[in-house]
């Protein structure tokens, strides 16, 4: 599809490029995937609101030509909930780092999923706090070295997809910045799906996580993604146990529970009927 290759021309604010991200950082790849998903769905810029948190990935709004609201660390989903609850017809996409979306913002994440509000959260999981220098996050693997776990991370990490699925989201998927055509589809399907959609984008931070854990340069880390990601439904996945360090990618959960706005509309209809009765 020739148009999609350059979808960024429609949705990117090219005057802001080159962007701030480090050489080889997957954030730019994830951003490209988002623009292609928006283009495939033919969403006009003025009907899209991108809400971002604080962090490297949270800076993505600076490079977008859609509507955008850049809030505070951890609160992006709450800002987005206000936008969507007030204006259900808008497409609201929420971009958060793992720290932003799942560590400081974990409470909003589980409640957005529980409410099943029709937002699409794209969490770039880079295994650490990139923006502030590579500190430990709730997604840093146990034992990994970060700037605040010099002897290894004593804590366990979250499996974000399982967390969000358990909390009630309608769509849960994981992709990587190596598997781009698939990532485009996952984000596209997440946006198209009614209810809360969650896409985890695995994209280890080369500058901090990669360097500290001796994973090699960005290209080497991309190769690791290629090796370690297992497609759900593939022959390898059917073998059962995943080898240490491997993870599933693809659509991990999907259901059709009613979304917040639909349920809300029912209550409001009752209230409006009463409101007109009494006046």
């Amino acid at each position: 599809m020739p148009g999609l290759k350059t979808a960024w021309k429609e949705y990117l604010e090219e005057s802001m490029l080159p962007h701030m991200w480090c050489p080889g950082c997957g954030n730019g790849i994830a951003l490209g995937a988002l623009t292609r998903a928006l283009a495939e769905l033919k969403l006009p810029r003025h009907k899209v609101v991108v809400v971002t948190g604080i962090g490297c990935w949270g800076k993505a709004d600076d490079y977008l030509s859609t509507n955008a609201l850049h809030g505070t660390h951890g609160r992006a989903l709450a800002f987005a909930t206000g936008v969507k609850a007030a204006r259900p017809e808008l497409t609201v996409v929420v971009l958060m780092g793992d720290g932003d979306g799942a560590t400081i913002g974990g409470n909003h994440l589980i409640h957005a999923a529980r409410r099943n509000i029709d937002l699409t959260a794209v969490v770039v999981n880079n295994y650490n706090y990139g923006m502030t220098g590579g500190q430990v996050s709730a997604t840093t693997p146990a034992g990994a070295i970060t700037s605040t776990t010099r002897y290894g991370n004593p804590e366990r990490d979250f499996d974000l997809c399982r967390l969000v699925e358990a909390a009630g989201a309608n769509y849960v998927a994981r992709g990587t910045v190596y598997h781009v055509p698939q990532l485009d589809r996952l984000i596209r399907d997440g946006i198209a799906k009614k209810g809360f959609s969650f896409i985890e984008v695995v994209s280890p931070c080369p500058t901090h996580f990669g360097r500290r854990n001796r994973l090699g340069p960005a290209v080497q880390m991309m190769k690791l993604l290629k090796e370690r990601a297992v497609h759900v439904g593939s022959a390898a996945a059917k073998g059962g146990e995943l080898p240490e360090g491997s993870f599933f990618i693809g659509k991990l959960a999907e259901r059709d529970d009613p979304d917040f706005n639909t349920s809300y509309e029912k209550m409001r209809k009752k209230a409006l009927a009463k409101g007109t009765e009494s006046s």
């Binding site: 609201l69 850049h70 709450a78 206000g82 936008v83 007030a86 409470n107």
Partner: protein, 403 residues
């Protein structure tokens, strides 16, 4: 009395001219919190996001019914950080949005209130003050969030704070709060207190058609020329709605007129300065006080009071036989009404500031009056309101001291 050109009108001596004499005026026996909810609906608010906390919860409860009946949205968020965030998101879609809370929740809202200030997002936050610090004498009255309301966030910023003293004012000032928020693209804090919020009084709810409502300025330029942070000559930029033909960015980062983040120091200085001047250049529209005395006369003592302290202060003033004691009620607490306090102070021998905190407004009054007049305080922070007798006793002490 200073009356805002755009607000609901509040007259001396609790006299309301809003819809006065109109057949449509509804007279109700309401609690302060209920009156705030009624005021919000009357002002056009159609979105509430909040988290329950005494003594503010009745506002949420009433809104969960009335806002839906008016076709709006009520949502109980997972916490107060999320509540104010949702209010900001909703407001940017063009809906008048608000939240209500008390001390602990107000503390949690501070960071995102900063987003609303820098992002110039109109919204209203009701803080029904309760005693602190921390859980303190939870649910007991206090007026100790005056400074937090003004300075609770990091960074340089300005906002508007109004304080009601009666249930009628709870209604009217809620309307004013929305009007000022929309007029100046700024968050407005309605700083109520447990006593005013839980007190029940007769209120006159005017015919909605008689209430002056202000809506935010929308852009009129072609969409591709819209700059969401380019001020009009009055210092206030027009604000579009998300979803309209105008595509725009709002960010908590320092930004230029386009709303994209920008690090240029000159731009940052100009932006911060404008956050101040857009309010300071329009004080005539913002500052509200009531003089509960004859302004022609010289006073022996001017009591400066706000919120729940106004009523006992006025009772004490009436009891000060043989001495002329007047009460200056501060409605706008921030920006602090410097000039109005100074003018009133000029015609008084001394000033007294009773307040349910350790002297937050007293210090402001001292700053304004300087060495020109003695300023006496009456701080109280034990979780109880003032009785007129307590203030009378202090008045006697003040006169003994003045000789």
């Amino acid at each position: 009395m200073n009356e805002p050109a755009n607000g609901s009108k509040i007259k001396d001596k609790n006299e309301s001219t809003v819809g006065r004499g109109s057949k449509e005026t509804r007279r109700l026996f309401l609690q302060g919190n209920e009156a705030i909810a009624e005021g919000a609906v009357a002002a056009g608010a159609r979105f509430y996001a909040g988290y329950p906390i005494t003594p503010s919860s009745e506002i949420a409860e009433v809104c969960s019914e009335k806002l839906l009946e008016a076709g709006g949205v009520y949502i109980q968020m997972e916490d107060e950080l999320g509540s104010i965030a949702a209010v900001i998101g909703a407001s940017l879609t063009g809906v008048k949005a608000f939240t209500a809370t008390s001390g602990p929740g107000f503390s949690l809202m501070q960071e995102n209130l900063g987003v609303a200030i820098l992002g110039e997002v109109p919204c209203v936050v009701v803080n029904v003050q309760r005693s602190g610090p921390s859980t303190g004498l939870a649910t007991r009255p206090a007026q100790a969030d005056v400074m937090q309301a003004r300075w609770g966030r990091h960074g340089d910023q300005h906002l508007i704070v109004l304080s009601p003293a009666t249930v009628q004012e709870c209604f009217e000032l809620t309307v004013t709060a929305f009007n000022l928020a929309e007029r100046f693209r700024v968050p407005v804090v309605l700083l109520a207190d447990e006593i005013v919020a839980h007190m029940r009084e007769n209120v006159a709810l005017p015919d909605p058609a008689q209430i002056k409502i202000v809506n935010r300025k929308k852009p009129t330029c072609p969409p591709e020329e819209y700059l969401p942070f380019k001020p009009d000559p009055d210092g206030v930029p027009p604000l579009a709605d998300f979803g309209s033909a105008y595509v725009f960015h709002v960010t908590s980062s320092m930004h230029g007129e386009r709303g994209y983040s920008q690090n240029d120091p000159a731009n940052a200085q100009a932006k911060i300065r404008r956050l101040f001047t857009k309010l300071e250049n329009h004080l005539d529209e913002i500052l509200l006080v009531k003089h509960h005395y004859n302004r022609e006369e010289e006073l022996d003592l001017l009591i400066v009071a706000f919120g729940c302290t106004v009523r006992p202060a006025r009772a004490a003033a009436l009891r000060a036989f043989g001495r002329k004691v007047g009460v200056l009620q501060l409605i706008t607490l921030w920006p602090f009404p410097d000039a109005l306090v100074a003018q009133a102070a000029a015609r008084a021998r001394a000033l007294l500031v009773p307040e349910l905190n350790m002297g937050q407004v007293g210090r402001e009054v001292e700053r304004v009056v300087g060495k020109a007049k003695p300023v006496f305080g009456l701080p109280k922070s034990n979780g109880e309101g003032f009785t007129p007798g307590e203030i009378s006793a202090r008045i006697e002490e003040v006169f003994a001291c003045l000789g």
